[in-house]
Symmetry: C3
Subunit: 406 residues, 3 copies
Amino acid sequence: MPEPDSVPEPYGVREPDSVREPDGVRVPDALPVPLLDQHCHGVVAADLDDDAFGALLTESDRPPAPGTSPFDSALGLALRRWCPPALGLPAHADPAAYLARRRSLGPAESTRRLLAAAGLRALLVDTGLTEASGQPLLPADELASLAGARVREVVRLENVAEALAARAPRAADWPAALRDALAAALRKADAVAVKSVLAYRHGLDIPADRVSDAEAVRAAAGFLAGPAGRLADPVLLRHLLWTAVDLCARRALPLPLQLHTGFGDPDLTLHRADPSLLTPFIRAVEPTGVPLVLLHGYPYHRQVGWLAQVFPHVYADTGLTLSHTGPRAVTVLGELLELAPFGKVLFSTDAYGLPELYLVGAAQFRHALATLLGDWQRAGACAPADAAHLTRLLSFANARRLYGLG
Amino acid sequence: MPEPDSVPEPYGVREPDSVREPDGVRVPDALPVPLLDQHCHGVVAADLDDDAFGALLTESDRPPAPGTSPFDSALGLALRRWCPPALGLPAHADPAAYLARRRSLGPAESTRRLLAAAGLRALLVDTGLTEASGQPLLPADELASLAGARVREVVRLENVAEALAARAPRAADWPAALRDALAAALRKADAVAVKSVLAYRHGLDIPADRVSDAEAVRAAAGFLAGPAGRLADPVLLRHLLWTAVDLCARRALPLPLQLHTGFGDPDLTLHRADPSLLTPFIRAVEPTGVPLVLLHGYPYHRQVGWLAQVFPHVYADTGLTLSHTGPRAVTVLGELLELAPFGKVLFSTDAYGLPELYLVGAAQFRHALATLLGDWQRAGACAPADAAHLTRLLSFANARRLYGLG
Amino acid sequence: MPEPDSVPEPYGVREPDSVREPDGVRVPDALPVPLLDQHCHGVVAADLDDDAFGALLTESDRPPAPGTSPFDSALGLALRRWCPPALGLPAHADPAAYLARRRSLGPAESTRRLLAAAGLRALLVDTGLTEASGQPLLPADELASLAGARVREVVRLENVAEALAARAPRAADWPAALRDALAAALRKADAVAVKSVLAYRHGLDIPADRVSDAEAVRAAAGFLAGPAGRLADPVLLRHLLWTAVDLCARRALPLPLQLHTGFGDPDLTLHRADPSLLTPFIRAVEPTGVPLVLLHGYPYHRQVGWLAQVFPHVYADTGLTLSHTGPRAVTVLGELLELAPFGKVLFSTDAYGLPELYLVGAAQFRHALATLLGDWQRAGACAPADAAHLTRLLSFANARRLYGLG
C-alpha cells in the first residue's frame, strides 16, 4: 500500500466537485488517501427483512421499545446520510424508501455498491463472528472481492479456547493444548493480530499477573466439567490473554493484541469496560513488547487517549464510536485526539453484518477528520501540512507500521 | 395533547420575529410544539430574600464561598438570559436589578409571568419535596393554574416508606404494610410514575436481586428501632424499589420508575451515582416490563445514552443538566443524543423552588435543541423533516407514549 | 497586583492589531489582564538535546513508540503555534526548524524570550521537583527574574516527609517530628500553599478519617525500616494530609491544600485519580476551613466542577489540561465551566522543565477563554460585561483572594 506521491494543499478541507450530489448534499469527502480498516467483521449475504436490518443498527440484541424505530438514532441519521446515494437515492431518504430500494436492487448488488463506495484499501477482519441476525456472514475472501480490498485476519482468542474445549481435552493438558491451538490458528489464518473480548466475558478489572499452569489446569477442570460453550472464567480468560501475549511476543515484529473496551452490546457492563481498569495488565505486558490496541473505548475514549500517551505499546482505535455517534463524530474524534499521540490512533469501521456499516464507518471517519482539521486550520491551531500528515497517519500509516503491512 | 397539524420547514431553525426583543436579544425560540415536563417540583410562593434566592441557584446546600456569588455560574448566566425579559427587563440584566424588579412585582406576579413564559403544556410533578429555602412549596393544583398546564403526580418512594415508619408498624408487618401504603399513595395521587432517590440515600451500587420478606423484616426492625426519619438502609431501599416495581408492573401500561442519577446536592457521592452501577438492577427489572427513567445523569449522560440504547425499558431525561450547564447545553444535549435512541429521550426541567427554573429549563431545552438541530442541518447531517420529528419526540411525544397521557 | 482600571468592551473578543503577526497568524490574544499562575514548576537552564526536549512534551516517562514523534500531539501543535514567534520564527514552524533556532539562540536567551512572551504577573511554584530530563531546574528566584514575575512557593508534602525519613527519626517521634518539619518548611518557604501527590503514591480512594498518632507510629516503623525513599504507605500519606490540614487551618486565612487529580505520568492509575473518590476526605476537611484546590482533573474535570459547586472549600484548576489538549482547549475549558462556579476556577500552567510550557500554558488559557467567551457572546449567552468579569476572576482575582496575595 504505497503512500500517494503528492498531497494537495490545503489538506482535509478540499471538497472536490465530483463528490457533490445534484441536490447539494455531500457524499463522503474524497480525501485522496487510502483507508486501512484495522478492525471489522463480515457482512450478511442474504436479504434481511426490516426487523433484521433494524436489529443491526443498534448495539442492543433486544427488540426496540414499543413505539420506537431503530432508525431514530445518531447511527440511523448517519446511515441515511451516506448510504442512499450509493444506491441511487438522495441523501436522507426515509427508511422505508431506502429499504425498498435495497430490496429491489437485491442484497448482492446493494452490498457490492455499498462496499465499493466505502473505498477501503485493506481490511483486518475479526473472523470470530460467523453470523448476524441469524444469517451467515460472507467469508473473508468474498468480502475482499466485493470490497476491492486486501483482507487479512485477526484471530479471536475466546473462539480458539472454546473450540479447544469442544474437543474435550484433559484439564491437565489445557495449557499446552491451548498454546498449540492458538499457534495453529495464527498460522492457519496468517493472522496480523489477535483479539480479546474480555470486556464481555468478565470485565477489564483483572489482576495483572500471569496465571501459572497449575492454576490454569484447576480452572480448566471446572470449565471442562461444566456445560459446553461460553468461556467466562476469569482465570482462564487471563491465562488465555497471557498465552496469546507470549505467542505474539515471539515474532520479530510482535503481533498486536486488540481488546474490546467501552460500549458494546448489553452483554457487557459499561463501567467494567473502562480501559483504565486494564492498567495493571498494561503495565505487566509492557516488557514483552506486545502492542495493545484499545478498541472503541467510548465513553472512556479520553482514558484511551491517556493510556496511549503514557504507555508506548498502547494504541487507540476509532471504530464503532464514530459510526454510532453520527452527527457528533467530529467532536468525539476531537476528544480522542486531546491526549492520544497522533502516531498511535488507528482508523477502523468495526462494521458488522450490514455492508452499510462499512460505508458509514469510512464516511464518518473521513468526514469527521476532514471537518475537525478544517476547523483547526481555520482557528489557526495547525497548518495545512500538519492536517495532511495527521490524515495520512490515522488513515493508514499508523496501522501499516503497527501491523507490518507492506 | 394533540400533535400540531403542520410543522413549518426548515424546522428547529426558524426564529419568528415575534420572539425577538427590541434590543436584538432573543427570548426562547418559539418552536411550535408543546412541552411536556416529565420531572419537576413545586415553587415557593413567598418572597425570598437575596440569600434564599441565591441558595436555589446551586445544588449546594451550603453558603457560597467567601467572595463568590451564586450568580457567577453557567446557571446564573442562563437565568439572566431568559428571565429578565419575562419581568420586563432586558436580557442579561444584572443580578441586583433583576432581584429588585422581582421584588417590586411581588412573588405572585413574578411567578405568574415566569411560569407563563415557560410555555409548558403539562407537568409531571414529584410531590416528595414540600419546601425550599425553608419556605413551603405551592401545591400541585396551584402550580397548574399559574402555569396554565395540566399537572400529574409522581410519587416519591422514600417518602412513602418514611411516612409508614412514622406510624410505627411492627417490623413483621413491614412488607405488607409497605405494599399497602404504596398502593394507596399511587391511588390517591392518581400517579403517573414513581421516583427513587436511591442515589442520595446509598448510591446506585446495589445488588440486583429481590429482597425476601424475611430480610426486609430484619432490616425494618433495625430501622424502626432507630431514630425517626431518613431511610438509608440499603436492604430497605432495595426492598422498596422491588415493592414499587411489582406494583408498577401490575398495570396494563406499567408505571415508569424514575431514578435520580448523576449530579445533585452534596448529600450524594458523585461516582456512586454513575448510572452504569445500576446495570445489574436494570437487567433484573427487564422481565417485569417496568420502564426505568434515568434522570439527569450528568456527567455520566453518555452512560445513560448507552443504557437507553441497549435496554428497551431504559429511558433518558434531560432535566437539571440543561439548566445547570447554561451556555454549554447545546453540546451536553448533543452528547446524550450520541447513543440514546431519539424515541427514548424525555424533556424535563427538574425545576424546584424558583419559578425561574421552569422558564430556564424550558428555554434552555428549546434553545439547545433548536441550535443543535440547526447545526446538524447546516452540516448536512439530517434533513429538516428529521429535525421536526426529533423535536416532537423529545418535547412531548416520547413522554406522552411512555406515561400513557391522552 | 491591582486590577486594571478600565476594561474595553466587548471583552474577550477584541484582537488588537499589535498581536497579529505579519503572516496573519495570531499570537496569544493580548487580553489586558494580568495572569496569576497558581501552580507551576521550575525550568531547565541547560541546553537539551532533541530527545530530552521531546521527553518533556509528554506525560510519559518512556521513549516514544517506534516510528512516532512526540511533536505529533495536541500539545505539540500548541507548542508550534505559540512558541516559534517568540523565537522569531513563523507559527507552525516545523520541529526541526524550531529546535535548530532554539539551539542557535542558546537556552538562556530562548528561556528569557519564552518566559517574557508568557506575560505572567505572578507564579506559585511547587518547588518539590528539582530536575527534569536529568537536568537541574532553575531556582525560584532566577525563574522570577527571567519571567519578570513575582514568585511564591508551594510546599510539596511528600518531600517533607521523605526528607524527614532520610534523617532516620525514631518511629515513635514521627507524628511530632513531621508536624515540626512541615511547620519549618512552611516558614522557611513563606509558603502560600501545600501540595499533595497522593494520586501518584496511592490513589485518591482513601478513608476520610484522621490517623491517630498510634497508627502513624506503627506505619512509620514499617516505612523507616524499609528502603529509603518514596513514601507510598496509605496510612502515612493520609496522616501527612491531616498533619498538613491542621497546620494550614491555624492561619487567619487558612493555607490551601493543592491535590493532584486526573491525568499525569504513568506512575498513576487514571481511574484511581478520579477526584470524586476524594469526597469522603473533602467532607471531613470542610469544618477545618482549609481550601482544597483540585489540580488538572482531566478527564474528570466535570467531576471537579461539581465538587467545586457543592463544597464551598473546593476550588478547580485549569493547568496541564489546557496545554495538553491543544486545539481542543476551548471545549475542555467550557466543560469545566458547566458546573464550576466562576468564582472558584483558577488559572495555572503546570509548566515544568521547558520554558515553552509557560508560554503554551498562558497562551492556551488566554486564547481558550477569549474564544469561549466570544462564542458565548455571539450566541447571546452572556453580555460583554460578564465576559470581562469572568476573565478577571479566572485570570487572577480568584487566586489573589484564595491565597491572600496583595
